[in-house]
């Protein structure tokens, strides 16, 4: 028996980054908003407090902050001809759960895409020829440009208190910042974090080769900061525990640390936690979603929450799953290439390297992702791809901190994994290794997609989402090229030993690689190429707004969160200035 609740102005599904932003912006516009969250609430003062937060086993190994696969997971296969099998425990990627979502345990790498990323297909065809893009590469232009998004990138910087150094202020290039970035109206709100010693050695070597090193932009306050919502953030303590763990200093930005403190004081906002949304109620004839169905996990009671506006912000997989399960839009059909929901699933192609310096003291547990040093000379539009045999690219980083003892020990390949010699080598190298990563783009391919699984079901009895994904020839070639560039810098650093660690041919669901998933509900210029329009509004239901990296047409060579946050703010602005006055399609097809 479903209990029908009183209609509300807006309901938000998933209280992570995008959900938090929309809830804040819509309540500021005077709307009454209900936030639905499947996991628990998280209050930093008690949930992320010292000393318990510094627990590598609990957070990094046992994945305390991650989603519960027992009630909902996805199935996976490399090829359409295989049977997909369930991910029984998250590993390759780690979607979070609870208020704050994946933003609680991210590393805080805060990036903008390049201006030419937003017109990717046009850019490549103009520069490399009309026929340069293979038929199987299903990339497309974004329906929004960098210049339009810049004010919202800027606003998101000021939500997060981002620390970094600008490399392009209104077109003026600044040495020591990222000279390949699009023009910024303002510098970062906070000065960059100090570079790790490994990063400093990398910077000197990169510079000697003519590259352009700069401090990694970091979504944490390097000094105490008050954000645009009036929320106070502490200063980063360089604890080295960012990834997979939350921040006890409320320095690392998440919706919990930068938005929820304001929303908790907001009478127009109501948070409902431990509620599992099963379906959107869709009126196809009216092209509206009338509300959402959810089960309260605390009582077992099922509710229908009618709403004037529905915001779907539940991570890439749940967003795509919800549309497929609710019958909104046309599912992607791999056989014909037609249909759009589930199309263009894109991962992030990250391949690492390590170098060993017996004479350098590197204090490997100390630091923050913001202490990493980056070169962006090999991202999409930063360099000429003529004759290279691939498109795309990514930034290259010498990382910082994050070497706790279970996960962060590095020894040269070929070292035994146990026994006395293993112990000697472990001790010998612990203070003396530097880690590198390549943040490779992933461009859509017709064989990489999501649909509903025919066999496995979730705790509510719904078919699971099925992911079909493998690394493409383009992306493997791109990644090998990035590694070859890192290798030149590593050699110039003069290590005693180094190792490049390319990804295996087949994507594997273990071990951890990246939580940067994208696509499935992509945005575009018309209903023939996209699920949502430039304001993240569904083409099939004008009061449904889909948030997050699921709307990216493809994955670029940067972490997705900076763009995801900017898009949510851009969409919220359009809802406030246009949609509320005149509810209906914001773009006419």
């Amino acid at each position: 028996m479903v209990t029908r609740l009183k209609e509300i102005d807006a309901v938000v599904i998933g209280m992570g980054w995008a959900g938090g932003i929309m809830a804040r912006e819509l309540t500021l516009a005077g709307l009454n908003v209900v936030g639905l969250e499947r996991g628990p609430d998280h209050r930093p003062a008690q949930d992320f407090a010292m000393p318990g937060i510094r627990d590598e086993l609990k957070y990094q190994q046992r994945l305390e902050l991650m989603g519960d696969n027992s009630i909902d997971t996805i199935t996976f296969r490399n090829q359409p001809a295989q049977m997909a099998l369930p991910i029984r425990r998250w590993s390759a990627f780690l979607p979070g759960e609870g208020v704050g979502g994946t933003g609680n345990h991210w590393g805080g790498s805060h990036w903008r895409f390049q201006p030419d990323d937003f017109r990717l297909r046009s850019y490549l065809q103009t520069r490399y020829g009309a026929k340069s893009v293979p038929d199987t590469m299903t990339i497309q232009d974004w329906p929004v440009g960098y210049d339009e998004l810049e004010p919202f990138y800027d606003r998101f910087d000021k939500v997060c208190g981002v620390s970094g150094k600008a490399g392009n202020l209104k077109g003026r290039k600044i040495a020591g910042g990222n000279v390949f970035e699009g023009p910024r109206v303002n510098d970062y709100p906070n000065r960059p974090m100090p570079p790790s010693e490994g990063g400093a050695i990398f910077a000197a070597a990169a510079k000697s080769l003519g590259y352009h090193p700069f401090p990694a932009p970091f979504s944490a306050a390097s000094a105490p900061y008050k954000n645009i919502y009036g929320v106070a953030m502490g200063a980063c303590q360089e604890c080295g525990f960012c990834n997979r763990t939350a921040c006890e200093a409320s320095a690392k930005a998440s919706s919990v640390t930068t938005i929820m403190p304001a929303l908790r004081q907001e009478p127009k906002f109501e948070l409902r936690t431990r509620v599992f949304v099963s379906k959107l109620v869709y009126d196809k004839a009216a092209k509206r979603v009338t509300g959402v169905l959810y089960t309260d996990l605390k009582t077992g009671q099922e509710y229908e929450q009618p709403a004037n506006i529905v915001v779907l912000s539940a991570f890439v997989f749940s967003n795509t799953h919800m549309l497929l399960h609710s019958g909104i839009g046309t599912p992607y059909d791999h056989a014909t290439g037609k249909g759009l929901v589930g199309k263009n699933y894109c991962y992030q192609f990250e391949a690492p390297a390590a170098a060993f310096f017996p004479d350098k003291e590197l204090n490997p547990y100390m630091g923050s992702p913001g202490g990493g040093v980056v070169i962006d000379d090999f991202n999409n539009a930063s360099f000429d791809h003529a004759g290279l045999g691939f498109f795309g690219g990514g930034y290259i980083i010498a990382s910082s901190g994050g070497s706790p003892p279970i996960n962060g020990r590095s020894v040269p390949g070929g070292t035994p994994a146990w026994g006395s010699q293993w112990k000697r080598e472990t001790v010998k190298w612990y203070y003396h290794s530097v880690h590198f990563n390549t943040q490779g783009s992933v461009y859509g391919h017709r064989d990489n997609y999501m649909d509903l699984d025919p066999t496995y079901r979730d705790a509510l009895g719904r078919p699971l989402l099925r992911l079909t994904y493998n690394g493409t020839d383009n992306d493997h070639t791109m990644s090998r090229y990035l590694l070859s560039r890192v290798e030149t810098v590593i050699k110039a650093m003069g290590p005693a030993h180094y190792e490049m660690r390319p990804r295996p041919k087949n994507f594997t669901i273990v071990p951890y690689q990246s939580t940067h998933n994208a696509g499935g509900t992509i945005m575009g210029s018309d209903p023939g190429n996209s699920v949502v329009n430039r304001y993240l509004q569904s083409w099939d239901a004008h009061n449904l707004f889909v948030m997050g990296a699921s709307t990216f047409p493809q994955q670029h060579g940067y972490n997705p969160t900076g763009t995801l946050g900017a898009l949510a703010l851009w969409s919220a602005d359009k809802i406030k200035t246009s949609y509320l006055k005149n509810p209906g399609p914001l773009v006419h097809a």
């Binding site: 010292m50 000393p51 510094r54 627990d55 590598e56 086993l57 190994q61 046992r62 994945l63 519960d68 696969n69 027992s70 997971t73 996976f76 296969r77 295989q82 049977m83 997909a84 099998l85 369930p86 991910i87 029984r88 425990r89 974090m193 100090p194 570079p195 010693e197 400093a200 200063a235 980063c236 303590q237 360089e238 604890c239 080295g240 525990f241 003291e361 204090n363 547990y365 100390m366 630091g367 202490g371 706790p404 003892p405 279970i406 020990r409 146990w418 026994g419 006395s420 112990k423 000697r424 472990t426 001790v427 612990y430 203070y431 496995y456 079901r457 087949n506 594997t508 669901i509 273990v510």
Partner: protein
């Protein structure tokens, strides 16, 4: 039940704890500590059977032998850690999707067994001991240190064939949980005396290093390691 009253040392002897690993449980590796250890409180096991205690102790001491860098895996509490982990919600399969149907699948598709970690390790210990008895004539904990190292190498390299169990995958999980026990915060029962943190030079808590990146640039930061328990 009478079995419940058998003192730990007796059942270890009964299980054939002749190897250095299991002996370390009672005697301690450095002989100077023998008297102290003999008077140490008897360990209480939450879920592990006597055979399993003997097995995990032997494995811990083979993977983490006592030497100048650290005490043995058993002296560091690794079997206690494993016992508590397998008794925990994680050990019982919390947050794990366990619905069928079950298929072996491709290696890229990851773990596909219905077994919880606790059941997985129970089945693995049985399979490993059965293989050890077939190959060496005795269970793994009764092998000499050299034989144990040889057995682990065979499992690691895919040369050991267990009946109805993937020996190579089991080895990797055994290695992972043993290393977790050695390196995790001592609050979980392993890493006694922060032995592994001392060995590495990992300072543990509070890990508030603001300003120290510059202060210790190019110089080693040295601090007495501290556990969560030291701040609780």
């Amino acid at each position: 039940m009478a079995d419940d009253t058998i003192p730990r040392r007796d059942f270890l002897t009964g299980a054939g704890a002749a190897g250095a690993g299991a002996a370390a449980l009672t005697a301690g590796v450095p002989s100077a500590k023998a008297a102290e250890s003999a008077n140490a409180p008897v360990e209480t096991w939450l879920v592990l059977t006597a055979d399993e205690v003997a097995f995990f102790s032997a494995i811990a001491d083979t993977m983490i032998p006592a030497d100048a860098l650290s005490p043995s895996g058993t002296d560091c509490g690794v079997p206690v850690f494993i016992d508590r982990q397998l008794a925990s919600a994680w050990g019982a399969g919390a947050k794990m999707y366990r619905a069928g149907p079950f298929h072996i699948g491709a290696p890229e598709q990851g773990y596909q067994l219905p077994l919880t970690p606790r059941d997985y390790f129970a089945a693995g210990v049985e399979a490993a001991n059965a293989w050890s008895r077939k190959t060496y004539g005795k269970s793994l904990d009764r092998l000499s240190p050299e034989q144990r190292a040889e057995a682990l190498t065979a499992m690691e390299g895919g040369k050991a064939e267990f009946a109805d169990f993937d020996a190579r995958a089991f080895f990797q999980r055994l290695l992972a949980i043993t290393m977790e026990g050695f390196f995790s915060d001592p609050i979980y029962g392993g890493n006694r005396g922060k032995a592994s943190w001392r060995m590495l030079g990992f300072p543990g808590l509070p890990a508030t290093y603001a300003g120290k990146t510059e202060e210790y640039r190019g110089k080693r930061y040295v601090a007495e390691p501290q556990s969560i328990a030291d701040f609780s």
